[in-house]
Symmetry: C2
Subunit: 389 residues, 2 copies
DNA sequence: AGAAATGAGCATTTGCGATTGAGCATTAAC
DNA sequence: GTTAATGCTCAATCGCAAATGCTCATTTCT
């Protein structure tokens, strides 16, 4: 008799961290690890000994004296179940506290009933304010369709990122993927198209691939913003952007240029700079700008987090934001209302966008027709103290 | 032939959002929903038709001409597999890109291979900075053991919270649970003990239940902090706390009192106030304090987020934090370095704490002996500009 | 030395809980 | 009296783990 087994020595795939259910997955582990810790042997014991069994579809069927099939079909909305039967099944199931076993269903259906999102991040921090809202939106929508949301993190354009996507796709860990922070020539889009995995994205790439997702039209709002700053008398307006290969960077940068052009101002490369969408990046970029001989009187940032960092730098230089210098953001994350001073920003309904995005993906997965394949959203300008007035 | 089925009419359990894997779950849906949208009927189609099949344990076994059992046991670290066989199996599996099907394994093992964490939150926002780091720590550790982390959110002491915990426990959605924001008499601890579900917690309750988890010892750091403030000449030091039934509130409040007492200062109930651990709460509380006749010269806050709100209020009153008034936090979240001015705080290694906490829980689940059942951590005082100097 | 006991190493088989194509009654319609 | 619609059940999976059991080699016992 061989009940004993050694302590788990093999770790196969990295696992996951799940969120409403949200599921996060380790990005950095090798496929299979194999190590023998001194060869010690331990008895295997299952400590999870609950008293009560789970209630299964069998129990429901038995209690009602009908077949398992009928219960399943009734719960799942098949048309070949009599109305009365269906209602009774549902009532009974509810009373008995029956809930379909997810693992069994997934096994049988060969679907993960899960959508995935990979956070573009470098740090061991799970989310920033933007992604926090984004994930919440995805998760809630997924939950509405009884789907999981699997979330993990990997640095953009890293090996880890690529292997993570591959694992999720090849291993069928997810039935569809949400993309964000699209790069101009984004391998992910190419890859997912080839693999025929459903996906949607926030922002589109320049690749000649059919686009399904949501686009925020920065242009209109940015022009307004620039016009406002220029109307206030600003002529030397700096720009703190993101990595140039990002779609949002291209859009917002172009809008910045357009805003300058509309007022007949020539862009000055010296005050056009790039950060990495984080407060740290914004801080460093702004610091540099503030050490210039001809200090800009306004800083337009590609997102709120960058702006928060920039404000930090300005404050540290003894400047009072909103009076001595003017700073703006983009996104309208909730923190932006609590900075000192509160941040003028282009507000996007991040939660709603994510919610809708997930909805589109689910429709795709279920083969339902999409009403709109491409949705445009116009960010709304919110004036706060960081631009004076 | 009956291929058609109506559009999904039944939604059973709320689903999940998963994170390194992290899994979030919808907190607010009823157990079973039943609605008929006009009785429209749609054809069912499975759109997920990949070309290639998944590679299963069978394929590996066939290729190697051994039984699937052996493959399984080899991969799983059982002792009754010859060393050579095991290594060959692992190599082959890797080459073939085999990775065990999670659903099948879970179904068979009757384990979810998932640990759970329920965010204490009211809003539809997924996380704040504190929990973001906390979740990252949990998720990464879970991933190391090939576990998922299931994350959801519910308001503390709400019906939703209770039903969520019950669903996770009764429905075996998780094999263990991580608790945080412990209340002095916490029903969750009682419930989980009774149900014999493994759990660990950050902070302990006053219940006579064996405690497994991590405790942060606020006292020492707080005394130092208070001594520092008093040394600076502050005599009127306000306190902005959290709900009094929280363990952290009790600890930190008591330490605040102890700090005053050590300096022979009598506490003034007028400047002792409670918020809800959010910036919004801190803002409102501070606003009230600043309208007092005898305005405090320092505000000690129960956590960083509260302090951030308080700073906002102070700034808005035209006070310069660090010069006109002094404000402190607790937690050392990364945002605290980017406030204006940067925040003096008691730094806890949130990520590390969560990481270790998850490790303890996993040991518990696997029936491994715990080296330490109770771990104490001392937060470290970080002086920044918000306390002048 | 011969018989019995042990155990390593692997195979067979069963079933976890659910879904689903096919098929079987029963009744209604023409 | 055939055909069709309706409502239900059968039985076959899905991929894996674990209980059981078999074989053969080695050790232990007498």
């Amino acid at each position: 008799m061989l009940l004993d087994k050694e302590l788990p020595k093999i770790r196969t795939l990295p696992s996951c961290t799940c969120l409403s259910i949200l599921s996060i997955s380790a990005a950095f582990k090798p496929l299979i690890e194999f190590y023998i810790p001194g060869g010690s042997i331990k008895y295997y014991q299952n400590v999870l000994d609950y008293n009560d069994r789970m209630v299964t579809i069998r129990d429901v069927a038995k209690k009602m004296n009908i077949s398992i099939t009928t219960v399943s079909r009734a719960m799942d909305g098949y048309a070949d179940v009599a109305r009365d039967t269906r209602e009774l099944v549902i009532r009974t199931a509810h009373e008995m506290g029956y809930t379909p076993n997810r693992a069994a269903r997934q096994l049988r259906r060969q679907r993960a009933e899960t959508i995935g999102y990979i956070l573009p991040t470098e740090k061991p921090q799970f989310t920033d304010a933007f992604h926090s809202e984004f994930i919440a939106g995805l998760g809630d929508m997924a939950a509405e369709s009884n789907f999981d949301l699997l979330v993990s993190a990997a640095a953009p354009e890293s090996v880890a990122e690529q292997s993570l996507y591959e694992r999720w796709v090849q291993g069928r860990k997810v039935d569809g993927i949400v993309l964000n922070r699209i790069r101009l020539h984004d391998w992910r889009i190419q890859y997912l198209s080839e693999q025929k995995i459903p996906f949607v994205s926030l922002e589109r790439s320049l690749l000649p691939v059919e686009f399904i997702g949501i686009e925020a039209d920065a242009n209109q709002g940015f022009l307004e913003l620039m016009a406002y700053l220029i109307h206030q008398g600003h002529r030397r307006i700096a720009y703190i952007g993101a990595a140039p290969q990002l779609k949002i960077e291209m859009d917002r940068y172009n809008s910045y240029l357009a805003g300058l052009k509309a007022a007949g101002i020539l862009p000055d490369p010296v005050i056009i700079t790039h950060a990495n969408l984080t407060p740290e990046g914004g801080y460093l970029a702004a610091e540099r700008l503030l050490r210039l001989e001809n200090v800009p009187t306004a800083m337009v940032c590609v997102n709120d987090l960058t702006a928060i960092g920039a404000m930090h730098a300005a404050n540290e230089s003894g400047l009072q934001v909103g009076r001595d210098i003017v700073i703006t953001g983009f996104d309208g994350i909730s923190d932006s209302a609590h900075t000192q001073p509160p941040l003028t920003t282009l507000d996007q309904p991040v939660y709603k966008i994510a919610h809708q995005l997930a909805g589109m993906l689910l429709a795709l997965i279920n083969g339902q027709p999409l009403v709109e394949q491409q949705v445009k959203i116009e960010p709304k300008l919110i004036f706060r103290k960081s631009t004076g007035g």
